[in-house]
């Protein structure tokens, strides 16, 4: 049944239905409501999760690591500075191959302090070893929170997974969401199968040992192999979920009117929705424009993106965070995928929406209008007062 709810409520609902063994969480704007909703479910006895109210995000992720190693299904949520504080432990979660699922309510990083959305926090976690998925809407955030369990927990993957949703724009706005029945979610997610749980005292195992130059490299290569398994698992889980939900999830990204597009935008998060409105408007005027909205950012689906964009003449890649001293990270992902290809578009990079700067349909129209004349490889700023 369709309901109205905020992105936060949608995420909390997915968590309630999954009912993990442990949730360790510390509140931070704009994520706090997820923690509040879940604490309420625990207090009301609706879920039997062990809620660990910690004193910082570093402790939240540390508690998650401990609980996951002990053999529990574990979830958490954070934003911005909270992610920055727990990043040390996120690397450890990935290195220990612990499938902790985390909602990241995207918010700009200080300084200057700001509570609004950009993707700097997600970009900070880019190389931590977590799988990263971006949602366009509250519905997608809900759906991917459920798919996340199956992807992260796959025994060949076993990695932390971040579901990104834009702070305020998705987290605090009421939208239409159609949750699945509780039983269907529980069945889809299935029983958690711990691997070498610490609490299995009959079969003791060592977690987090020292690894010197003789083994560290091989262990990191094994971690990369886990990441390399993600695409195959992602597609399988997504296909099953699409069948269950009746929603059109197919692939690592959504191509919107891309098949015959001459100009296209590549983007992640809620602004993709605003861009689709512009694509529709320009299509009505006969302009061949399209959109590629990335769902799976890490691991980055480069082969498939090459296939989807090869025929496009001009592509604008929109990054909602700066990578100081270079082009945007998504731009580098997309363009490097084409490095050995003969047939390729020319690319332009736009930085947009930092610190919650609103990106309107007029801004997206501007990108399409400028694209033909833009110098290839140029770094531009959208919606900036200069």
């Amino acid at each position: 049944m369709k309901k109205t709810m905020t992105g936060h409520k949608a995420v909390a609902e997915a968590m309630r239905q999954i009912e993990p063994d442990v949730v360790a969480v510390y509140p931070i704007t704009p994520q706090s409501e997820i923690a509040e909703y879940y604490a309420q479910y625990v207090a009301d006895g609706i879920v039997h999760t062990e809620l660990v109210p910690v004193e910082s995000e570093h402790s939240a992720m540390s508690a998650c690591v401990g609980a996951a190693a002990a053999g529990a299904r574990v979830m958490t949520a954070t934003a911005s500075q909270g992610l920055a504080l727990l990043i040390e432990v996120l690397y450890i979660a990935a290195g220990l191959r612990l499938p902790i699922v985390m909602a990241l309510v995207n918010r700009a990083l200080s300084a200057p302090i700001n509570i609004h959305c950009d993707h700097a926090d997600a970009y900070l976690a880019r190389d931590a070893g977590a799988i990263q998925i971006f949602a366009e809407s509250a519905q997608e955030a809900y759906d991917y929170m459920i798919m996340a369990q199956r992807i992260a927990e796959n025994e060949r993957v076993r990695l932390p997974l971040i579901v990104n949703l834009d702070g305020f724009t998705l987290s605090h706005s009421v939208q239409v969401v159609e949750p699945l029945p509780d039983e269907e979610v529980k069945q889809f997610v299935g029983e958690f199968k711990p691997v070498y749980p610490l609490l299995d005292v009959e079969n003791p195992a060592t977690w987090g040992p020292f690894a010197m130059p003789d083994y560290y490299f091989e262990l990191k290569r094994a971690q990369q192999a886990g990441m390399e398994t993600v695409p195959e698992v992602f597609l399988k889980v997504q296909e099953e979920y699409a069948k269950l939900s009746g929603r059109p999830y197919k692939g690592f990204f959504e191509g919107y009117k891309l098949e015959d597009a001459e100009r296209a935008i590549v983007i992640m998060g809620s602004t993709a929705g605003t861009a689709k409105v512009v694509v529709d408007e320009l299509r009505k005027k006969g302009e061949k424009v399209g959109l590629l909205k990335v769902w799976l950012w890490r691991p980055f689906p480069k082969e498939e993106i090459v296939k989807a964009l090869s025929h496009v003449a001009k592509v604008a890649v929109l990054d909602r965070a700066l990578s100081f001293g270079n082009m945007g990270a998504l731009y580098l992902d997309v363009t490097s995928a084409f490095v050995h290809r003969e047939e390729r578009p020319t690319f332009v990079n736009y930085i947009y929406g930092l610190g919650g700067r609103d990106t309107t349909t007029e801004h997206i129209e501007q990108v399409f209008a400028e694209l033909d004349a833009a110098r290839p490889g140029e770094l531009r700023y959208l919606g900036l007062r200069e």
Binding site: F168, H172, Q175, G273, T274
Partner: protein, 190 residues
């Protein structure tokens, strides 16, 4: 698609009624969005909340700059908040005031439809403290919402939060706001 902007002060329930309006319209089979002006929420400070209501799926996630309806829950905001900014000239300005539409037109210079209702008085008469629910009724009237369906949804929403007698008072306030705005529409000069 209809876009609505609510002007209130922190604590007057602009965000709450914007969310309830979304629920009512979902029940009517529409696609909806409701969001507040994001930022620190302080009691008494000017706040804005927004709705989008559409027959088709709503994909846009940017702010609302050209609303079709602007709702002023607190008339002291007429001076400081410029509630007619970007307002569709074919649209509607709804104001909680004892003043007449002519006075509001003179004050704002808005050329479209102006509807005035004394939501404070309606709320007081119904026995509730806040003018937001009568204003919700007024917006429902302007949108042409089925009042019975709206009342059912309002009742369902409030029943979880308020005792039954307070819910009933809110329903009275909603209906009177609805009727006041509907009456003002009918009497409005062409």
């Amino acid at each position: 698609m209809k876009e609505i902007r609510w002007h209130g002060r922190g604590g007057q329930g602009a965000k709450t009624v914007s969310q309830i309006l979304a629920q009512i319209n979902l029940r009517e089979g529409k696609h909806v969005q409701s969001f507040p002006e994001y930022g620190p929420e302080r009691s008494g400070a000017p706040v804005r909340a927004y709705n989008r209501i559409s027959e088709e799926e709503i994909l846009i996630h940017s702010g609302v700059y050209h609303p079709d309806i602007s709702v002023v829950i607190d008339e002291t905001l007429l001076d400081s908040e410029n509630p007619t900014e970007g307002l569709n000239p074919q649209g509607t300005l709804l104001v909680n005031t004892k003043r007449s539409p002519d006075e509001i037109r003179k004050l704002t210079g808005f050329s479209g439809e102006i509807i005035c209702l004394d939501a404070h008085e309606i709320a007081k008469g119904a026995g509730i403290g806040f003018p937001n629910v009568p204003m919700l009724g007024a917006v429902a009237a302007v949108l042409g919402t089925d009042p019975k369906l709206a009342e059912e949804e309002l009742k369902a929403t409030l029943s979880g939060r308020l005792p039954p007698e307070v819910v009933d008072k809110n329903l009275v306030a909603f209906r009177e706001g609805y009727e006041a705005a509907k009456g003002a529409r009918t009497n409005a000069p062409a």
